[in-house]
Symmetry: C2
Subunit: 179 residues, 2 copies
């Protein structure tokens, strides 16, 4: 009945990839709908017919970023000693954040005014904590930690890592500070 569509799933993926690249390599200011469309060789109409809004586009990047982030934490090799694993998870957390600071701030900062994560989106961020909760449970079972709800300890450790990384990325560290 009509022309075949160019604004298809393949283009959706290319847009998502380029959006991630722009964000990661040039920062939040570089990610504009016009720029994105031009870099991918299409028009803003394409982005709007595939995503609907900048907010929805960034949400896709947000979920993608949490996916990769979680994968990196899942990939941390377990040593058998849960306390060692907790330390390794913390190091991996920091390395993942420093490897791509802009994506990290899309996940945890509100760097792009158009996008604010919905409650449903935060489930993706909570899933990131799973390896952490597992290690805490193991440590508790072996009596290596002061007894307390595993989730409480996990959140406290997560906050510690996030706080350190966040201060480091924000430049709020004393000169030449090294933990």
């Amino acid at each position: 009945m009509a022309r075949p569509r160019l604004h298809d799933e393949a283009l959706r993926v290319r847009l998502l990839d380029e959006a991630g690249r722009l964000l990661s390599e040039e920062g939040p200011a570089a990610l504009s709908m016009r720029r994105l469309a031009k870099d991918v060789g299409t028009s803003t109409t394409a982005v709007y017919s595939l995503y609907g809004s900048k907010s929805a586009l960034v949400r896709a990047v947000f979920l993608e970023a949490f996916g990769r982030f979680g994968a990196r934490l899942d990939a941390v090799p377990l040593s058998g000693d849960p306390l060692t694993d907790l330390l390794r998870l913390g190091v991996a957390y920091r390395e993942s954040a420093l490897a791509d600071p802009h994506l990290y701030s899309v996940m945890f900062g509100q760097v792009i005014p158009e996008f604010e994560p919905e409650p449903e989106d935060t489930e993706a961020s909570l899933a990131t904590m799973n390896p952490l909760v597992d290690a805490v449970r193991t440590a508790l079972a072996r009596g290596l930690l002061i007894p307390a709800p595993a989730e409480t300890i996990a959140v406290a450790l997560w906050a510690q890592a996030h706080g350190l990384v966040s201060l480091e990325l924000g430049g709020h560290m004393p000169d030449g500070f090294d933990l």
Copy 2:
């Protein structure tokens, strides 16, 4: 020789106050140069002749916010027991952040794309830590903490507080979580 200026220090203060109010009550999106000028009853030219740029305006708000934040921490009554004081400082930290989340995110998030703090600006943020460092030193002197550089412990505690508050404000907490 010429007309007396209306764009004077009094107006500068009124602009700063209104900018803080807009930010605090309506969030970062509400703070535009046009809106600010209109609310104060002047023109954008005034803002530019007094501040030069949005970046500089927000920097002024940033420093003001850190001033108030530091004052709240300085005002925490000391109990004599440094460990109690550390806990109180943490509680005061959280209360200050929750009392004005938008200002907190101007201080520690990059909520306004136009403004990124310079190295000199972070000195203001480090000064906020002084009461914390003092309490840590006292605790160390009394053998209440495992020996380590006071600054290291202080930064770790600060990061813990900042991490918890930051996750809480960002909604990255499990449902009904209470430490």
